[in-house]
């Protein structure tokens, strides 16, 4: 097997590798700025210099030439090489900054040049704390600067587009953003203008950077040159918690991280998943943090004489139980939702079955022509395939409207049917309608009973994307009834760990008075005398994998280990529909 020696250690490899990526894959480190595994390699930051050599082979025998000590004779490249664009070759010997003083010196000097015109504004820079330039300057940089002349001034606070702001002085011209628009989003909106020490990235005159994926450039910017217009100055990165989750704004199931502080989701960034979204996510998905924070239904509400009044949980529970008891099971229509998780829809289905009601129905939320073949999909809901795999009955919007208007009582899982024009407000006024909702909407406004449930940011639950991939979320923000110190899955940031409820940066206001759907339903089942009880989404999923053939072998630990599981197509589905 081909071999390569890095800092004196032997590694075997197969296939084609770029040296820098190979080094990183071994868990070693070489500093770099412009290299990005998903884009072309221009090698223009010159930071990843290493010393590389090849052993000398005897031309005739093909044997390695040996020196007097019996070691291979190495022919070193005449100059240091950028490791990002050099291919690993058999017998190659590599010295990084760990073992070679010249490499260490070269990297230090390159950094000194890069920093020559870089402003020292880390204390007010959004990138500080997650800035490759900052980190690598600490690790490999010079102790001071020998440049005594004024730094070059360039445009600052340039609104490149609706969502991205440029500070050209901070830019080190790695061209990652330009390559992103050229190679990934293919809008070609950015370019590097001017030259020498005056160059910086910008758009063509008179155009704006309104790419649907523009905020990815903020993520990949190795300095604070490109910042998000929305997130700018909102929080320092070290104050936030980072929790893995799934994008719920469309059917792609983009893997994301939720960044929370004091139980508010402050920003959303993409999380690498080779099989779904690579390193990227659409700008739209990042806006979803508002869904988790704003306009939330907190505390149940009941419609009394045409006015929604906040009610206690106990009253909500009793009212719903009473209403269900009043009706024959057949008269109650359970409506599932592609916007709700697999677990929630399954629990709804279980209740419906136990009550002898019709199998729950749902209607997909499709907007034709919305998708772009990349990360935006026609499907506006995260779990349409999950509903199908569970065996909910899929109806067209018109059929669902008919069902609802014909029903005496409707239990609607989080789906804003009025807002998306499936039914009119009038349609759901006639039957007694209970809405389990995360956010206030035109739909929840006209419901007879509104019961607040948790969002994807507050519970662990799974979603099945357009490619039939089941992936799950992790609770990122607390509700009134959860505590991150007691839930081992929830991440604890510095402020959570060391703060107390008496600190002025901690408030109770951001905790929403809501409950996971399965918890409320368990209470309801207890009240109705049904045999159904779930503690967590994990419990529900364990049962689903036992009972629903499509979900055989699916569990939280399997999903975590494989970053999602693709569901097998089962014959069961075709029978149902």
């Amino acid at each position: 097997m081909p071999e390569v020696f890095i800092d004196g250690k032997r590694y075997e490899y197969e296939g084609d590798h770029q040296l820098l990526q190979f080094i990183l894959d071994q868990g070693l480190e070489v500093p770099f700025f412009c290299y990005h595994p998903s884009m072309s390699i221009p090698a223009n930051c010159r930071q990843c210099m290493v010393k590389v050599g090849q052993p000398v082979k005897d031309r005739e025998s093909g044997e390695y030439e040996l020196d007097e000590n019996g070691d291979r004779v190495i022919r070193w490249f005449p100059k240091l090489q950028t490791s990002c664009n050099i291919k690993v070759a058999d017998g190659m010997v590599v010295h990084t900054q760990e073992t070679d003083e010249l490499v260490e010196r070269a990297q230090k000097d390159t950094l000194e040049f890069i920093l020559a015109n870089h402003p020292l504004d880390c204390p007010i820079c959004d990138q500080a704390g997650e800035c490759p330039l900052q980190i690598q300057t600490y690790k490999y940089g010079p102790e001071g600067s020998r440049f005594e002349v004024k730094k070059v001034h360039k445009p600052k606070r340039v609104q490149l587009g609706p969502r991205v702001i440029l500070d050209a002085e901070r830019c080190i011209n790695c061209t990652r953003c330009v390559r992103f628009t050229d190679e990934i989003s293919e809008t070609h909106q950015l370019t590097i203008v001017s030259r020498g020490d005056k160059n910086y990235p910008t758009t063509a005159p008179g155009t704006e950077f309104d790419d649907n994926y523009s905020l990815n450039t903020v993520d990949i910017c190795p300095v604070g040159a490109l910042t998000s217009a929305d997130f700018r100055f909102k929080a320092r990165v070290w104050e936030m918690n980072q929790t893995p989750s799934i994008d719920i704004t469309n059917g792609k199931g983009t893997n994301i991280d939720l960044w929370t502080r004091d139980n508010l989701v402050l920003r959303i960034t993409p999380r690498f998943n080779e099989d779904v979204n690579d390193h990227w996510m659409p700008d739209e998905g990042r806006e979803a943090y508002r869904v988790f924070n704003e306009n939330r239904v907190s505390k149940p509400a009941q419609n009394l004489d045409g006015e929604q009044v906040k009610s206690s949980w106990n009253n909500a529970l009793l009212t719903l139980a009473e209403k269900i008891e009043e009706h024959d099971g057949k008269e109650v229509l359970f409506v599932g939702s592609p916007h709700a998780s697999v677990e929630e829809n399954y629990v709804l289905m279980s209740v419906a079955n136990l009550l002898g009601a019709k199998n729950p129905v749902f209607t997909p939320h499709i907007e034709e022509g919305y998708g772009d073949g990349f990360l935006l999909t026609d499907d506006q809901a995260p779990n349409t395939n999950g509903c199908r795999a569970l065996g909910l009955d899929e109806l067209s919007a018109a059929d669902l409207k008919k069902e609802i208007t014909g029903a005496k009582m409707v239990v609607l899982l989080n789906d804003q049917l009025v807002d998306r024009n499936v039914v009119s407000a009038k349609d759901i006024e006639t039957p007694f309608t209970t809405v389990f909702a995360t956010n206030h909407s035109e739909t929840s406004k006209v419901a007879d009973l509104v019961i607040p449930i948790t969002t994807a940011a507050e519970h662990a639950a799974s979603y099945v994307n357009v490619d039939n991939r089941a992936q799950r979320t992790v609770a990122a923000k607390e509700t009134k009834y959860t505590n991150r110190r007691l839930d081992i899955e929830m991440s604890e940031g510095r402020l959570d760990r060391y703060g107390t409820s008496f600190d002025n940066w901690v408030t109770e206001d951001n905790k929403v008075d809501c409950m996971p759907f399965w918890n409320f339903t368990s209470q309801l089942a207890d009240r109705l005398g049904l045999d159904l009880s779930y503690d967590t989404g994990r419990d529900v999923m364990n049962e689903i994998s036992e009972k629903v053939p499509a979900f055989k072998g699916v569990s939280y630990s399997e999903m975590d280990a494989n970053s999602g599981i693709v569901l097998e197509e089962t014959s069961d589905k075709t029978v149902k529909s």
């Binding site: 070609h188 370019t191 001017s194 005159p205 008179g206």
Partner: protein, 176 residues
């Protein structure tokens, strides 16, 4: 103002495109076609070039802004690039520049009101042996300048004539 290439220009552009395996490579020569036609490559002209070649506008803008010989704004009919880099500076480059500024009544970087002349202060043009010197509109060098020579040059250009080429021999190097 909407810019448009003439039929001739378009034919020339087709010829240029045929020379290269990819259209992108035609950016530079086509920018020259545009600058020769309009006298500058303002953003609108850059857009025209981009649209004609089917390239991203940002790319054309990046290329045009990289090279100082492309004028990104309207210039006079004659652009006088006066060198003030080291050799010219030592031989009186700044005096020549000042003389020119006074004569035309504009500062470096400006254009005369009649649109005839622009002055630019530039870095080394590689003619240190004949300092001080200036270049006329990306083309002819006028060397060994004196105030009188500058006056003559202005008159020549005003008369619509081209300045004469200086025949400059290489100084003989003594070989021992």
């Amino acid at each position: 103002m909407a810019y448009e290439f003439t039929e001739e220009d378009l034919q020339e552009i087709e010829k240029i495109k045929a020379k290269y395996p990819e259209v992108k490579a035609a950016t530079l020569p086509v920018l020259w076609v545009a600058q020769n036609r309009f006298g500058h490559v303002e953003p609108d002209v850059q857009k025209l070039v981009a649209d004609t070649l089917g390239l991203p506008q940002a790319h054309v803008h990046g290329v045009a802004s990289f090279y100082t010989q492309y004028y990104k704004e309207k210039k006079g009919e004659h652009v006088l690039d006066v060198c003030t880099c080291l050799s010219c500076q030592l031989c009186g480059g700044y005096d020549i520049l000042e003389h020119l500024e006074n004569k035309l009544g504009i500062k470096a970087g400006e254009t005369t009101e009649d649109g005839k002349f622009s002055i630019q202060e530039v870095e080394c043009l590689g003619a240190c042996g004949y300092a001080p010197m200036l270049q006329v509109t990306n083309d002819q060098y006028v060397n060994n300048l004196t105030p009188e020579k500058v006056d003559d040059l202005i008159e020549t250009l005003k008369a619509g004539k081209e300045p004469e080429y200086d025949q400059i021999g290489m100084p003989l190097r003594k070989v021992k």
